[in-house]
């Protein structure tokens, strides 16, 4: 009888430990994929509170950011924390932000996270991953109106990315697969 209990305990311990380390690995992997690509600069802090996060209730207030006529190159990425491919490609945008931080260059991550999840999901995500790119929230519910205004060929699926400088524009439907691809889009609008 004691043998039975000991064996059972042994197995429980073994699997619990195995389970924990597996989750740790998952977490590490996730962190690596976000943080590793960001380079050495760890001094920047993310948006710590909701008050620092710009929330656009109306698309028309955000719209000017999509067609600014200055010398800066803009990379506008529409994403959400619930969108798996969006999260997967974020490190590429973070790397781009880091590499161009001394240039006339700006990355804006337009989050389509649900208003109810800004504090519970989005802010913790920004904080945890120490995002350096600017994050804004678009809370306008009238999607069928503003999707067309972003790009008339966009069907609404995210991620999508707009890369532009003055009147040179490149709209990328779907995810960016690697850094070279992203850099090529930036080059196209120079």
């Amino acid at each position: 009888m004691p043998f039975k209990i000991i064996t059972a305990l042994f197995f429980i311990l073994f699997y619990l430990t195995g389970c924990e380390s597996k989750q740790n690995i998952n977490e590490k992997l996730e962190k690596q994929e976000v943080l590793e690509l960001k380079g050495k600069n760890k001094s920047n802090v993310g948006h710590a509170s909701k008050s620092e996060l710009k929330i656009y209730e109306k698309f028309d207030d955000l719209a000017p950011l999509l067609s600014l006529q200055n010398d800066t190159t803009y990379v506008i990425n529409f994403w959400a924390t619930w969108c798996k491919p969006c999260v997967a490609e974020l490190p590429l945008f973070e790397k781009l932000t880091e590499e161009n931080k001394n240039k006339k260059f700006k990355t804006i991550l337009v989050s389509l996270d649900f208003p109810k999840q800004i504090e519970t999901r989005l802010l913790p995500f920004i904080e945890k991953n120490k995002l350096q790119s600017q994050v804004v929230v678009l809370a306008d519910k009238k999607e069928q109106i503003w999707i067309d205004k972003v790009d008339k060929n966009w069907d609404g699926a995210i991620p999508v990315t707009l890369v532009y400088k003055k009147n040179k524009r490149k709209f990328v439907y779907g995810e960016v697969h690697d850094y070279e691809e992203l850099k090529a889009y930036v080059d196209q609008v120079q």
């Binding site: 059972a8 597996k22 798996k84 389509l112 999607e143 999707i147 699926a157 779907g174």
Partner: protein, 222 residues
């Protein structure tokens, strides 16, 4: 005695192991992001447009039966809806799809839901996952699995949810969103699908016949 003790241990071990796996799959974004591949936008040449005759299909339903549009007795049209388990936008529409089916199938327009995703890319969208989700939500409409991803490209579906309203000749009469407020049901002003069917029933062309909405890309190996 020994055998019993080993069996007990084994059962406990299996239990621990499976509960661990469940715990690990709670957060979609925690999974290895490298396995995620999504489709590029479907090229505009081979997709269905308003007025085209939509192809029929024969896909496995959650109850194990095979369902085609032709097999749905008494249908005057169809609300073909590409949707899935994992996408938050699809989830937000689950209750509305159930209500839509209740109301519109009475008029002869059943909802026919199709999961177009490759479960190897998004494991939550497996056939077993569909059966489970349909049971949880008590889906009252067919929920079909596009095994091999052959049907959604013929329709030109690009996201979930993505609706195609067909008439009694399987002609496409409306493409787009279910209504104009995915994120908040209380803010819905226009129920596009319902409005389209009312127009068809009145012998008119739906207006609008094409709308856009935010959604998840259809998950496909690159």
């Amino acid at each position: 005695m020994k055998i019993t003790s080993y069996l007990t241990a084994l059962i406990i071990a299996i239990f621990c192991f499976s509960s661990c796996q469940q715990g690990a799959s709670v957060e979609e974004t925690n999974k290895d992001a490298k396995t995620e591949k999504t489709t590029k936008k479907v090229s505009g040449t081979d997709v269905l447009k308003i007025g085209d005759v939509a192809p029929d299909f024969n896909l496995k339903n959650i109850d194990g039966s095979m369902v085609s549009l032709a097999s749905l007795d008494g249908a005057k049209g169809y609300i073909v809806t590409f949707t899935c388990n994992h996408c938050p936008y699809s989830v937000m529409y689950e209750d509305r799809l159930i209500a839509l089916h209740t109301e519109m199938s009475a008029l002869g327009y059943p909802v026919v839901a199709i999961n177009p995703n490759d479960p190897e890319v998004q494991p939550k969208d497996s056939f077993d996952g569909m059966v489970e989700r349909a049971k949880e939500k008590a889906f009252n409409f067919p929920y079909l699995f596009d095994d091999g991803q052959k049907v959604y490209p013929q329709y030109g579906a690009t996201r979930t949810p993505h609706v195609f309203v067909l008439d009694n000749e399987r002609k496409v009469r409306y493409i787009g969103a279910i209504d104009d407020s995915a994120r908040d049901e209380d803010d819905v002003e226009t129920e596009y699908v319902k409005k389209a069917i009312m127009a068809i029933e009145a012998g008119k062309d739906p207006d609008p016949n094409f709308t856009k909405a935010v959604g998840c890309t259809i998950k496909k190996k690159v």
